[in-house]
């Protein structure tokens, strides 16, 4: 016979109440585990989507002369560069140790060309990687398919009278990165001219990029090899945009690795993009944490109420124990053992239920099939959380029980 014998016998005797408390803790912990697990999986998915949604690293040649501007980032003038980037460099980016964190490499050659009497910025791109990178582009027309095909920015198309206003219903759109929903497209124009003379040569206007408000509105895009030929810059690149999958990845390390691989280039992280990503992900984590905290607080309140009821109900019993010589600490120990057993059981059950709920619910919350993460280590956190919640919420009732004046309790006796 020890104090623990009394505690276990009491739990056995009050099976219903013990089960109710265990379920209460399990629901609280389970909800928190499910939310944290879901948010962890969804966070990864959001992170991946954000990472694909534009470049977060830009590689430009080392140069003292800067004359062109792209996307708010200055790139060196082609004509004055001493150290040039080459096609091979784009491939070399994928040779770094962190290559599995790189989701997209989009090389570009930029140059000013005369188009129907205007100087316009022409970009040679690899359309496949460029369109993967620029998922927000909506293209009226079709994707470029051969060397003569061009994508024209909205402002350029308007200035050159390639388009005229119309309604969204009559416009044919091509969207990237998933099914296209015409109802979401804001462009209200149609292509009225299918050809364009660039640098004195005829080209096809494959598509016009709907207005983005970005630098692409003022640009024309052609295939990289063709533009290199047009600008007489074979094998040369003006910049390389890199999209790194950044879940837990140190962007600085990736930048350092690329810099090491391309010593002739200047590699910089677009901090704004990195910060935006981390802020979005952090916000999601904070929200999940807040919801979990509320659920746990409700659970704690329930335990508090039940324990208070239990203490009142057991006043007589506690009084008898005090009368036969139990110290306050003995009473606390006995009640704490009961709470600890219930809390640990609730924590384990909650973890299991939370994992299961997260596994079931994930497909409804994550659109692109975020992977379910089985987290056995979370069981330790769940049990610890169960113990903390159980202990904290029963602290006052237990201390109150231990402080019962035996004479008061004996009055019940």
């Amino acid at each position: 016979m020890r104090i623990s014998t009394i505690a276990f016998a009491n739990l056995k005797r009050r099976k219903g109440k013990a089960a109710f408390l265990t379920i209460g803790i399990a629901i609280g912990i389970g909800t928190a585990v499910a939310l944290l697990s879901l948010s962890s999986s969804i966070k990864e998915e959001i992170g991946s989507q954000l990472d694909r949604f534009g470049a977060n690293i830009v590689v430009v040649p080392q140069s003292n002369s800067l004359s062109l501007d792209y996307g708010g980032l200055s790139v060196s003038s082609v004509s004055f560069d001493v150290k040039q980037l080459h096609n091979e460099d784009a491939k070399n980016v994928l040779d770094i140790p962190f290559r599995n964190r790189i989701s997209n490499v989009s090389p570009k050659l930029l140059g000013a060309v005369a188009v129907e009497g205007r100087d316009i910025l022409l970009a040679g791109v690899d359309f496949e990687s460029e369109l993967t990178l620029k998922r927000w582009w909506h293209i009226a027309g079709r994707k470029p398919e051969d060397e003569q095909d061009l994508l024209v920015g909205y402002e350029v198309a308007r200035a050159l009278s390639l388009i005229e206003s119309t309604t969204p219903a009559t416009t044919q759109h091509v969207s990237h990165g998933g099914s296209h929903d015409p109802g979401e497209d804001k462009s209200q124009f149609k292509i009225v001219r299918g050809n364009l003379k660039v640098a004195g040569k005829d080209h096809n206007v494959a598509g016009v990029i709907s207005q983005t408000g970005g630098p692409e509105d003022q640009m024309i895009f052609g295939s990289l090899a063709h533009v290199q030929s047009l600008l007489n810059k074979p094998d040369q690149l003006s910049l390389i945009e890199v999209s790194a999958l950044c879940k837990d990845c140190p962007i600085g390390d990736i930048v350092a690795q690329i810099s090491e691989r391309l010593p002739q280039a200047k590699v910089s992280a677009i901090q704004q993009s990195v910060r935006a990503r981390s802020e979005t992900v952090e916000r999601l984590t904070r929200f999940s944490g807040a919801v979990a905290a509320v659920v746990l607080a409700i659970g704690a309140l329930m335990i508090f109420t039940t324990m208070m009821g239990s203490v009142i109900e057991r006043t007589k019993e506690i009084g008898v124990l005090r009368a036969i010589g139990f110290r306050r600490t003995h009473i606390i120990k006995g009640l704490m053992i009961e709470v600890a057993v219930i809390s640990v059981l609730g924590g384990v059950l909650g973890w299991g239920a939370g994992m299961l709920a997260s596994w079931f619910a994930l497909p409804y919350f994550a659109e692109t099939g975020a992977a379910f993460e089985f987290q056995p280590l979370l069981a330790i956190v769940a049990v610890a959380a169960g113990l903390i919640i159980g202990t904290v919420s029963s602290f006052y009732p237990i201390v109150r029980a231990s402080r019962l004046d035996p004479s008061e309790a004996v009055r019940y006796v």
Partner: protein, 223 residues
Amino acid sequence: MSFVTIEKVTKVYEADGESAAVKVLSDVSLEIVEGEFVCLMGPSGSGKSTLLTIVGAMNHPTTGRVLVDEIDVYGLADERRADFRREYLGFVFQQHHLMPYLNSLENAMLPLATASMTTKEKRERAMNVLDKVGLADKASRLPNQLSGGEQGRLAIARAIVNEPPLILADEPTGSLDTKTGQEVMEVFLKLNAQRQTVFMVTHNPENSALAHRIINIVDGRVE
């Protein structure tokens, strides 16, 4: 030599929102010598049970002192007073107040739960007292599987398992019929015959007739 000394004890239950202050005991003084069997008698509300709980180190007197074996009971800190109860006192309540979820042996062992001895020693000691009160063959039974008299004897077993020098009993036969009440009284007499001091509150004149001394209390005063 006096084993229990009660010196000018007064107890006033302070007024609360619902009732006025009540003076339950007034200037009570008495002495009990070691090995004595003393019965405290008096009408309901006379302060018998209050006096018993004060001697039992559970109810702080408003004024006055209680000495047991020359220990000033209320001069002890709260936790030390709990130790004192465990080492010096054995309580027998009118309603027995056995733990319904523990069997007879476990109920008898209850005061030993905090003692620093092996489980085997605790079991042996509890079996001995069960044997003493004639319940050795019912060690595995739950209280609700015992008769009223057996429950009373089990309550006594729990009270004496620590081998306390003083047994306090609050109308231990009050809830029992005559026959089972006699069974319980026989146990008290047996214990007293072994020099155990007994201080018992009772309404029953037949029980008090078995005591060495009867103390009458009326309106909180010892007559």
